[in-house]
């Protein structure tokens, strides 16, 4: 029964794919599908972090800015002549550190809602990215670094492989480990989780750190693909990631959500962007359509749940 929860967004995705295949002959080709996967990979990683946060009934507005800061950090490290390993490590460290700040402000400083702490770091991280880079993109990264974003293993793009592996790991984390279960408990009823002896604060800090870390990972893919670190990378990406999570069937009230649903959500947004481009829909109209699709996809899920409830009673 549990997999049925993903059926709503999956259905939306399939309908979308069928419609686009009919209207554009190029859409349903291996090349294009792989392209969609690759283009969705950054949003998919951000959405995964966002998913963890939303399961705890929180929100992370800072993922887009963390992505920008990390992109600048990794590009500068590479430019400074540090090895790829060290640069990647720095990038992930920066992401995790900003995430930790989010968590610490929430649990140690007791700011009343993560909207506030992450709104603050969203601004701070973006500002730092601009300051450090001087406002300019840092281009021409070493060729050997670019494999992370731009190359493929046989025909499968490396970012796609990374996404699949990371999603699998987080699926295991959420369903098979104690910490994963605790995260659902915190979102379901934080007081009860605390009374159950779950170290709620520690888990929350880890959740926000993971969200930051995944934004760092997304930065590596993005800089590899673009061959440069843009300080403005990921502007508005937090909203795309939230959209993917919500389309994927997670509840804003916490306690509910799956990794695979979120993947479907991220792919749906990728398919949509790609399809609209193929159909030559202007960028202005694309945003309108995406807004409508968010409502449509979530509403299908609402309908599905209503039908299932009727059937049961």
């Amino acid at each position: 029964m549990k997999w049925l929860r993903q059926l709503g967004p999956l259905l939306a995705l399939i309908v979308m794919i069928v419609l686009l295949s009919i209207s554009s002959p190029y859409f349903f080709t291996v090349d294009n599908l792989l392209n969609i996967f690759r283009q969705s990979s950054v949003n998919a990683l951000l959405a995964l972090g966002q998913l963890l946060v939303i399961i705890t009934a929180g929100i992370d507005l800072s993922v887009g800015s963390i992505l920008g800061l990390c992109a600048v950090a990794v590009a500068l490290s590479l430019k400074a002549g540090w090895s790829i390993i060290v640069s990647i490590f720095i990038c992930l460290l920066v992401g995790a550190f900003v995430g930790w700040l989010n968590g610490a402000m929430l649990t140690k400083m007791k700011l009343p809602h993560p909207f506030i702490s992450t709104l603050a770091t969203m601004n701070v991280a973006r500002g730092l990215a601009l300051i450090i880079s001087g406002g300019f993109p840092i281009s021409d990264l070493p060729a050997s670094y670019r494999i992370w974003g731009a190359s493929s293993v046989s025909i499968i793009p490396v970012p796609v492989i990374i996404v699949v592996v990371v999603y699998f790991i987080f699926h295991i984390f959420l369903t098979k480990t104690i910490s994963g279960r605790d995260i659902y408990a915190i979102g379901g009823n934080k007081v009860a989780a605390y009374y159950s002896g779950i170290p709620t604060d520690r888990r929350l800090v880890v959740v926000y750190m993971l969200s930051g870390l995944l934004a760092g990972l997304a930065a590596i893919i993005l800089t590899g693909r673009m061959n440069s670190g843009f300080p403005l990378a990921g502007m508005g990406a937090e909203l795309d990631s939230i959209a993917a999570v919500i389309i994927g069937g997670a509840s804003f009230f916490g306690g509910v959500g799956t990794v695979w649903g979120t993947l479907v959500g991220a792919l749906l947004m990728g398919v949509l962007r790609n399809g609209l481009n193929l159909l030559d829909v202007s960028a202005y109209w694309q945003t309108v359509v995406i807004g409508a699709v968010i409502v449509w996809a979530v509403y299908m899920d609402v309908l599905r749940q209503r039908v299932m409830k009727k059937k049961r009673s």
Partner: protein
């Protein structure tokens, strides 16, 4: 008001929970509705007030067939209900909660706060319960919240008031005052439907009694026609033997090392210089009125609150307990008093809830869950506690009140703690299940656990404890061995200070 429920049937997810139930409520009568946990009492009442709809059957109000479309219709017809699960809005004030959905307006169309406040204050005066009407509800204790619910029902000038276990979080004293109020209402020809698991109350206030068992109507009759034993037999469908287990009395406190020792525990405004010990194999009862600081003390031992002063020793070692996580690690478990808030994750499955506190018991060292073992454990607990449910994956919120409480207990038992604090463990639980829980507590003690039982039900404290301490206004005012204890002695200790300082700092 004359209300008749005729042949009401209802099923959830294919399970029949009410089967052709009939109930006839007469004007000015107090009608008790009795049955085990999950018998369908709350469901029947939710149908009567229009929160749920029946699959079959009819509702007659003053002999007219009624079909409610919304709870508003029932309210407009003069029916009010106090729900078993608190249904207040925590962020709003007492006044707003009492007038929820029907705030009073002045002629100008603006809200008439002044009038609402004075009405609320009048109601609390009538039930002799002092409460600041402008406080927000989240600051209130569970007993106070309950009184707000009751005030809400009373304020509607209803002709039929349904009370679903209204006294379970209340102190004896406040319950008595509520009864007085109920008597007055029934003299004014208001009908009352009263649901409770405390059967002695039925005999005190009810005229008629209707008994349900497993969704079946068993009988309706005047209370004077039955005695406690028949009622219990009709409820559970068999004779129940002794309500309380035998004491084993093999414990001899002074000779052994205390499992838990509390010394000089103090938290300002909550409790003051509290000293006591519990030994393995013993049940220690903590009696007192609601508000005496017992829950606060229990929560401090469990690490939810920090002690200002004092020390806790566990199995002879000083324990630094500054969070529930640390308490569980030291082997202390708490069954909290407010299961909805502190006990359960309502929208998660029963299975999830039973295992949510186990930490690493069913996990490898690096935190992998052993799901097979978790399921085994859930099944054992459901058997052992006789939790009535449809499946392990069912949401906890869908269980009857008593069964939810059993899940909350099961969750803590699953942690294998050797020191167990039960804060009002049988609140809202039927006689049969209560008995099971009593025997379970005794069995746990016999197996070597040290048990602290916080309860406002004196019979329970007297029947189950080996030793009793009494708290009043945050202090221990007496200790007594169960063999020498009587209700009178305990009440004296529980109110002693209260009476003498009545004009001073009472809360």
């Amino acid at each position: 008001m004359h209300v008749e429920l005729k042949n009401i049937s209802k099923s959830y997810t294919g399970n029949l929970v009410l089967n052709k139930v009939t109930m006839n409520v007469k004007p000015g009568q107090v009608h008790a509705l009795i049955g085990e946990n999950g018998a369908g009492k709350s469901t029947l009442m939710k149908i009567l007030i229009g929160v749920e709809t029946a699959d079959h059957g009819d509702i007659f109000v003053n002999r007219k067939n009624k079909k409610w479309r919304t709870p508003h219709d029932a309210r407009d017809a003069g029916i009010a209900m106090v729900f078993q699960e608190l249904s207040l809005i925590p962020t709003l004030s007492v006044i707003e909660n009492v007038f929820l959905g029907r705030l009073l307006r002045k002629q100008s169309g603006l809200l008439d706060w002044h009038e609402m406040k004075s009405q609320v204050e009048k109601i609390f005066e009538e039930i002799e319960f002092p409460l600041d009407a402008e406080q927000t509800v989240e600051e209130l204790s569970i007993a106070q919240k309950q009184m707000v619910e009751i005030a809400r029902a009373l304020s509607q000038n209803a002709r039929l008031i349904i009370l679903d276990e209204p006294t379970s979080p209340l102190a004896e004293r406040d319950a008595e005052r509520l009864f007085k109020r109920i008597k007055k209402l029934s003299e004014k020809n208001v009908s009352i439907i009263y649901i409770t698991h405390r059967l002695e109350q039925v005999f005190k206030i009810a005229h008629l009694i209707t008994i349900l068992r497993d969704g079946e109507f068993i009988r309706t009759c005047p209370v004077s026609d039955v005695d406690m034993q028949t009622v219990v037999r009709d409820m559970v469908g068999r004779e129940l033997s002794e309500q309380f287990p035998d004491r084993t009395q093999k414990v001899n406190g002074s000779s052994k090392k205390a499992a838990l020792r509390v010394e000089g525990a103090t938290r300002s405004n909550e409790f003051n210089n509290v000293n006591f010990s519990v030994y393995n194999g013993e049940i220690l009862g903590i009696a007192g009125l609601v508000g005496a600081g017992r829950t606060e003390l229990a929560e401090a031992i469990f690490g939810v609150r920090r002690l200002d002063q004092g020390m806790v020793t566990v199995q002879g070692k000083i324990a630094k307990i500054n969070s529930p996580a640390a308490a569980v690690k030291t082997g202390i478990g708490l069954i909290a008093d407010d299961r909805k808030l502190k006990g359960l994750v309502p929208d998660a499955s029963v299975h999830f809830n039973l295992n949510v506190a186990t930490q690493r018991k069913f996990a490898t060292r690096c935190g992998w869950r052993l799901q097979g073992q978790e399921i085994e454990a859930s099944k054992r607990l459901i058997d052992g506690l006789q939790i009535k449910l449809q499946s392990l994956q069912q949401n906890a919120a869908g269980l009857s009140g008593g069964n939810q409480q059993k899940v909350a207990i099961g969750k803590t038992l699953n942690t294998d703690s050797s020191i167990l604090i039960f804060d009002e463990p049988t609140r809202g639980i039927d006689v049969g299940a209560k008995r099971e829980i009593y025997f379970l507590l005794r069995k746990l003690a016999d197996e070597g656990a040290a048990i602290i039982l916080v309860s406002s039900e004196l019979e329970e404290i007297l029947g189950l404890s080996d030793r009793i301490i009494v708290m009043c206004q945050g202090r221990i005012t007496g200790e007594i061995v169960a063999a020498n204890a009587t209700q009178e002695k305990i009440m004296e200790m529980a109110v002693g200070i209260y009476e003498s300082t009545k004009n001073g700092v009472t809360a």
